[in-house]
């Protein structure tokens, strides 16, 4: 297997997540201080949505890259991230044309495929620490929907914590894997 191709996936994963978190932190704090700011740095709902769309499309591109790289290496599990990317794209498009119910169905499929993608990542990572972190992230990802359905908006803050922890673990897992692939090859 050509490991270099996965190396760039992990580097991109860390970079995109780190950049978006940094933007969130900086813009949210700077927005409430009386420092003149360019408009794109303001933490307004419009900008947050724009940033979300940029981050989502970068992440989808990364996952598509992951899927293609796996398939080229004769690993058919690469179709799982490809399916996830296609499902997310269709789901978001349906949302934009206000087809809420079909969009929901497609996005549920996409979410299941995201969990599947995490499982695929566990299977292709080489370090045990990375496997463990992806494993915990997968479990959290799988637990979020039942908790949200059971608890409703009352538990939304816990869901936020879980998502934060999940994201942190995925970033760490990717960093460890990128480090290992970069150093040992």
């Amino acid at each position: 297997m050509n490991v270099k191709s996965l190396f760039w996936f992990f580097v991109g994963f860390v970079f995109v997540n780190f950049a978006s978190s940094l933007w969130l932190l900086l813009s949210s704090v700077l927005t409430i201080t009386p420092i003149p700011l360019p408009y794109w740095l303001l933490y307004t709902p419009g900008n947050i949505v724009t940033a979300g769309i940029i981050v989502a499309s970068l992440m989808l591109a990364l996952y598509a890259y992951l899927g293609v790289a796996l398939i080229l290496n004769k690993m058919n599990r690469g179709f799982i991230p490809i399916t996830m990317v296609i499902a997310f794209t269709i789901g978001i498009t349906l949302l934009l044309v206000r087809q809420a119910i079909p969009a929901l169905v497609i996005l549920v499929i996409a979410y299941l495929m995201l969990i599947g993608t995490y499982a695929v990542l566990i299977s292709v990572t080489t370090s045990r620490a990375s496997k463990a972190l992806w494993g915990v992230a997968t479990i959290i990802l799988a637990l979020i929907p039942p908790i949200l359905i059971g608890g409703g908006l009352a538990v939304i803050n816990y869901i936020r914590y879980m998502a934060l922890v999940e994201q942190a673990m995925a970033i760490m897992a990717s960093a460890i894997e990128a480090w290992r692939l970069g150093v040992e090859q």
Partner: protein
């Protein structure tokens, strides 16, 4: 739970037309950033959006008026919740005793961006809740989803907003006054603490002294006395309708300064005016073919909205600072002014009154100057299924008279405003207060006839001061020189209805001016119900 708000997190957002947006952030306290309101100004030109310096002026709505809070020339302005003037307005709300969760109030933000000889003015209304502020200041228990920071982003879109032209006013013949804010529909708005006619100190001896501050907005232009407006529906349905707007008054007119908190402060200006019977008469459909207004006015008059400091002057204690109050007053009217009645088809002073949301009224009072609630009188021509036509009235005296106009004999139905009470549309309670004041004066005269003069002075002043405070809403009284304003209507097309609303602008502006509004389908503001003073409609003819 609070860690979610370790960094500011938006919990609500309000778009204000295309002018801006207000975002509300919950957050943990952030060092060196006190909770409050932050205004940011952006200039939009094509696809470029940049922070830009502008005059930012912030007012707080209080239960009985507005309080100036802060101003600055910058691209950002921060107003902490513990700003003294804001706290004063908040205290006024708190003293009402209504639970904070029951209502929201608002801040008014005005942004003036000047470039070359053009200016753009944005009025923004920022809703907020007094409870949030008290929680952010630690005066009551905080909860996690309370906004701690309100960020207002104002957009000056020079491609979409039409600029006003800045007209410099000459001072001393040589110096150009930098304090002209702009012009609106023929009005020049200037800083009256620096130039032009200026407000004076009022004494309400021995109780209060009112001293003008440097926050003084002078408005120079025509001061309408009376007007009539017709809608496009009237133009369509009532081709051939004769409209006759007449005024008849003369003598010395006193204009009084009106405070939002203390009522009538006293005469701000008086002049001898002479408007013998004057009438403007014309026919819709032939002489006038588009919706608009006709109005009588004083030309080159000046009125002002001024912030005053209020001092309580006791006998022993010395002056005691009471706070500030917003005062509307007339500063100058040319004597023996005579101008012909004038038409306004959308760019004159009457349009400014109606479109107050865009211009001064919204800026300084926070709501459109005229709406259904300022209508004081109704009358209507109604066509019955049996082919009969009736004129009905509610509140006002309606009669009929006969006139020859253009060689044709018309029966004019008239809606007359006569005397102070009718002209100002005082409610029964307000009339009662006013009469009480008069009666008190008379009583004192009688009781102290031949007695000590200081006692008369004292009783008179204390007496009227008490009545003034009791009747806060009494609009400025002129000496009863306003004797008669009449709207005559003739040649109503058979089979059409005509609705006449009489509106009283003095309650809003503190200016003695009122208008008639003609509509084809319903009264002004489309009221669903209204109250007649005598609880009934009177059929006239």
């Amino acid at each position: 739970m609070l860690i979610v708000y370790a960094v500011p997190s938006p919990i609500s957002s309000v778009r204000i037309g295309g002018f801006g947006e207000a975002d509300y952030y919950a957050s943990q306290p952030i060092p060196n950033v006190s909770p409050g309101l932050l205004v940011r100004v952006f200039l939009i030109n094509g696809s470029s959006v940049k922070p830009v310096n502008a005059f930012i002026d912030v007012y707080a709505n209080a239960p009985s008026g507005i309080v100036h809070v802060a101003m600055g020339y910058s691209s950002t302005l921060i107003v902490p919740f513990n700003n003294t003037n804001w706290l004063y307005a908040l205290g006024k709300w708190a003293s009402l005793g209504i639970p904070f969760s029951e209502y929201n109030t608002s801040m008014l933000v005005f942004i003036t961006y000047i470039h070359g000889n053009e200016s753009w003015i944005l009025p923004l209304v920022i809703p907020y809740n007094v409870g949030w502020v008290y929680r952010a200041l630690g005066k009551s228990t905080p909860s996690d989803a309370t906004p701690r920071y309100i960020v207002v982003n104002a957009y000056i879109n020079v491609n979409e907003l039409r600029p006003s032209r800045v007209v410099p006013v000459r001072l001393n013949g040589t110096v150009t006054d930098p304090q002209v804010f702009g012009t609106y529909n023929g009005y020049t708005v200037y800083n009256c603490s620096l130039s032009g006619p200026q407000p004076e100190v009022y004494w309400s001896f021995p109780l209060y002294e009112f001293a003008p501050t440097s926050e003084c907005v002078g408005i120079n232009g025509s001061l309408p006395i009376a007007w009539a407006t017709w809608s496009s529906g009237v133009i369509q349905n009532d081709n051939g309708l004769v409209i006759d707007l007449s005024i008849d008054f003369s003598g010395t007119i006193n204009w009084d300064a009106m405070s939002t908190d203390y009522g009538d402060l006293g005469t701000s200006y008086s002049a001898s005016e002479n408007w013998g019977p004057q009438s403007a008469e014309f026919i819709l459909g032939s002489q006038v073919t588009q919706p608009g207004s006709v109005y009588w006015y004083y030309g080159g008059a000046t009125w002002a909205i001024v912030n005053y400091t209020v001092w309580y002057v006791g006998d022993i204690t010395g002056p005691y600072y009471m706070g500030t109050t917003t005062v509307s007053e007339v500063l100058y009217v040319p004597p023996n002014d005579y101008y012909a009645a004038t038409f306004d088809y959308g760019s004159g002073p009457i349009s400014m009154f109606y479109n107050g949301a865009i211009t001064l009224s919204e800026q300084y009072f926070g709501y459109p100057a005229l709406n259904a609630s300022t209508v004081v009188d109704y009358a209507a021509f109604e066509y019955t299924p049996y082919g009969e036509e009736y004129l009905w009235e509610c509140n006002g005296p309606v009669g009929n008279t006969s006139t020859v106009f253009g060689g044709v004999q018309y029966t004019l139905y008239t809606v007359t405003l006569g005397g102070v009470n009718t002209a100002y549309g005082l409610s029964a309670a307000e009339i009662g207060t006013e009469l009480g004041g008069l009666a008190f004066d008379v009583l004192v005269e009688v009781a102290t006839e031949g007695g000590a003069t200081p006692l008369i002075e004292f009783l008179n002043n204390v007496g009227s001061a008490i009545f003034d405070i009791a009747g806060l809403l009494i609009p400025p009284s002129t000496s009863s020189s306003v004797t008669r304003t009449t709207l005559g209507i003739g040649g109503v097309t058979a089979g059409t209805s005509l609705y006449i609303s009489v509106i009283n602008a003095s309650a809003v502006y503190g200016l003695p001016t009122f208008g008639f509004i003609l509509n084809a389908t319903n009264y002004y503001g489309n009221p669903t119900s209204f109250t007649c003073k005598y609880n009934q409609w009177v059929q006239i003819g």
